[in-house]
Symmetry: C2
Subunit: 500 residues, 2 copies
């Protein structure tokens, strides 16, 4: 058995190397690559992806996993090796069910679709994108069929992003949430609106960058195992736990953009930096799921970064950097400004009170598309109707509506709910943190984050992908993913800000 | 045959992708990677190198090449496919003669040796490095044996860097050169020395960077297919002809460093950017040899960049950027300063009149080591004796002598002569250019380089690695690699500068 386990680990390590190389190719493309490199990079990425797939799905891996399964079952279920064998087996079964030809076709079709989506959005022309999306919905249904029988056609899609989670789970989690959030939004809308115009003055870009660096350094982002660059869309990528890179964007006329992007990505990055070194070069060396990842980015961006204690510490620094713009803005005015609630058309610009509504709208439409109860051609109409119902706004055109996100063009139907789930988990964790570190807000006010990061490391980060997300949330908080803490948090926060 | 050729190209394209990925891993390590990434990057690079080796040396490749050889011989020998099959066959035979185990052992031993060399140099302790170098010399002899029978034990080593070139060729080329260069150096030493102290004042780093960018942009370096970064040691790397990246270094107290580094690396880069797109993703998609590569970097750095016509155009710009430092330095003084000849201990700091002597010294020692007529333990003594004989200086210690270069610790015995050969070829090309573009100096004085770059593209760059270096030099200049033009150039140049 030891021989076999050693051999399995060798193959998985080679797979991990190829996966990491693929991530580097992508990071380089977004951060450094000159435009001329596009075609060559496409070939390089495809070659690496194909070799990675071949490595993982080799018949030898299947045999090793079959042989090792009884051994894994004989171990402590929390043992690294037990988790490794179980997770690898799960992945192996998923990967081998999908024919390589399907993967290649899907990748080609989405590459075209993403190109067309970009044009369609620029031209505000949904009809141009429609046939591509129809094809993608079709292929996603075919994809689900590889995993038949299933309880819901959306289950296999969701499972790729949230292992073990079912469509019915998500629907149940979200069922109460939507009505409550819509009601809260109406209450807020009845109050006088906040003035946040000071955020949109002109702010020196280098100073913005430096402030973000100062903050995430205090958080505990480890620069010896990471770096920050600029890119059009902020993201985090990593090649093991010891090289975890983030990007941010800096807008001259939006003070909130760079700082909160850096905090958000540092949240993702500290998760990866915290994975137990013993899991290096295995399939367990990553966060547990997209929702848990988002719980970390949102915790640092919102629970910490948009909190009053945080700005009690950091606002004087910021005022010092920008005396002309902020000298006359007091802390409370600033705090209210960065927490202003305003139903907007665009998901990525939305605030904590409206974000989940954008997500739920998308999830419902995705499920309906997959079930066949909604046709792609009717999507814009459904989109706009729901926008009006949930957020009270109607997009003036499809570019600001149904065409705003890249996800569907890239074939990522099944992804969106993880954003909202991450918000919910972030507050479940926060309630637990408040119990375990009662003075956490005092520490934040003092610019001390070591106990907080230590708690997250111990409870969550170090486990990597050993456990399914629901199992992990239950282990840490005592309950599965639950919307109640998030609702409590929103009510408490906006009561103070909007005087509800 | 078409089927077989297509299949061969598919495999070679996959090999090229892996090769390109390996280059990116290395570029990223030198330019971007945080220190924590070292261990993981080592694994990633080893995995990619091993897959690349497996891909190229697969038995299928051997069979395809055997089958395709008669077909290649039936084609026009200048046809891309004919060259591709011949070059791939050559590479296949070389790669398959060396056992994978030997490659792995060699790579491990040189990794250790490089580490020890660095320490030995810092501690000025040759004895510490000696056993490592002995082992490397031993392994290089074993390596040569894989290619027995050979005419000279150094031949197989040289062939890896200069395909087709023999030790006796290099010895013949260098035989007259050394005496002539030593004699010239003595003449120069008898003349009053030039004052170049103005080069070593304080110069703003950003302005230095910008000036280098301005120059290489004029040269024709294509930024849409490249970029420039900073690194400890300037280098060029590429992933196809459409993503060719350079690095440079900027020293606050040395005006010559950044500008000439950028010109040098842009020379390498423009060679790669000029390879015929039809050769993309094949073994022909690169420069023909290290010497020909160096001919390009040296041509732009020295023949253009250290010429009077060039500075007639660019010196006023430079003075404008640095009025305090250069305002009172006239063009002729500046020109003489950047062309000062001074025998130095260190190869990388040496000038056009002394550089080749550093190289010849190393080549002679390498050949003697490989022949066994010189023992590693006697290397420092031989080094110092030759330094005195050729350059009239004796290193005060081994750190500034035999331990100065990284090459031997990395196992690269066989590499050095390419630097000097590049110098020779650069002037052979230049003499031809002066015939074909009689007003090239007028164009340079006008800041126009399009005709020059166009000539190099047409005669050299586009061919990639289709021809062996001697064949290519003969095709372009009418003779094989020849030291006479270089000697003529040196005499003419220094006659004016030193009033010989």
């Amino acid at each position: 058995m030891e021989e076999k386990l050693k051999r399995l680990k060798e193959i998985l390590a080679e797979f991990y190397d190829l996966y990491a190389v693929g991530m580097l190719l992508d990071w380089d493309q977004q951060v450094n690559m000159p435009p001329g490199g596009v075609e060559g990079r496409g070939y390089q990425s495809a070659t690496i992806a194909s070799l990675a797939h071949k490595t993982f799905t080799a018949a030898e891996v299947g045999r090793l996993l079959d042989d090792l399964l009884p051994y894994a079952d004989s171990l402590d279920p929390d043992a690294d090796d037990a988790c490794l064998i179980h997770v690898a087996r799960r992945e192996y079964e998923k990967k081998t069910r999908v024919p390589a030809q399907f993967v290649a076709e899907f990748s080609q079709i989405t590459a075209n679709a993403m190109q067309t989506w970009q044009e369609a959005r620029e031209e505000n022309n949904f009809a141009k994108f429609q046939p591509h999306l129809e094809r993608i919905v079709d292929l996603r249904r075919q994809y689900a069929e590889f995993f038949a029988p299933y309880k819901h056609v959306y289950d296999p899609l969701l499972d790729d992003f949230e292992p073990g989670l079912k469509t019915s789970d998500v629907q149940e989690i979200f069922s109460g949430l939507r009505l409550e959030q819509v009601a809260l939004l109406k209450e807020i809308a009845s109050r006088p609106q906040i003035d946040d115009s000071f955020i949109f003055l002109e702010y020196d870009e280098q100073k913005q960058w430096d402030f973000g660096v100062e903050v995430i350094t205090r958080f505990g982002y480890d620069w010896k195992r990471g770096r920050q660059d600029r890119s059009a869309h902020p993201f985090t990528t990593n090649f093991g736990a010891n090289d975890v890179r983030i990007t941010t964007r800096v807008h001259k006329d939006n003070l909130a953009s760079a700082a909160f992007s850096s905090m958000h990505e540092a949240g993702h990055a500290m998760y990866e930096q915290g994975v137990d070194p013993a899991l290096a070069r295995t399939v367990l060396c990553s966060g547990a799921s997209l929702a848990l990842h988002e719980s970390q980015s949102r915790l640092w961006e919102n629970l910490v970064g948009r909190s009053l204690p945080f700005w009690e510490r950091f606002y004087p620094r910021l005022q010092q950097q920008f005396p002309v713009q902020l000298g006359r803005i007091d802390l409370w005015t600033f705090y209210k400004g960065i927490n202003k609630v305003e139903p907007s058309l665009v998901r990525v610009e939305s605030d904590e009170a409206t974000y989940n509504l954008h997500i739920m709208l998308r999830l419902e439409l995705e499920i309906a598309l997959m079930e066949g109860t909604l046709l792609v051609k009717d999507l814009p109409e459904s989109w706009n109707a729901r926008m009006q119902e949930y957020l009270g706004v109607t997009p003036p055109n499809d570019a600001k509506g149904v065409l705003q996100d890249i996800h569907w063009s890239g074939g990522m139907i099944g992804y969106f709910s993880t954003y909202a789930l991450g918000n919910l988990v972030s507050v479940q964790l926060w309630e637990k943190i408040l119990q375990d570190i009662p003075d956490v807000e005092v520490q934040i006010r003092a610019g001390e984050f070591a106990a907080l990061l230590g708690w997250l490391r111990e409870k969550l980060h170090r486990h990597g992908a050993k456990y399914e997300p629901q199992v992990l949330v239950q282990r840490i908080t005592g309950s599965k993913i639950d919307p109640a803490p998030y609702l409590r948090y929103l009510r408490r926060k906006y009561r103070a800000i909007y005087g509800l």
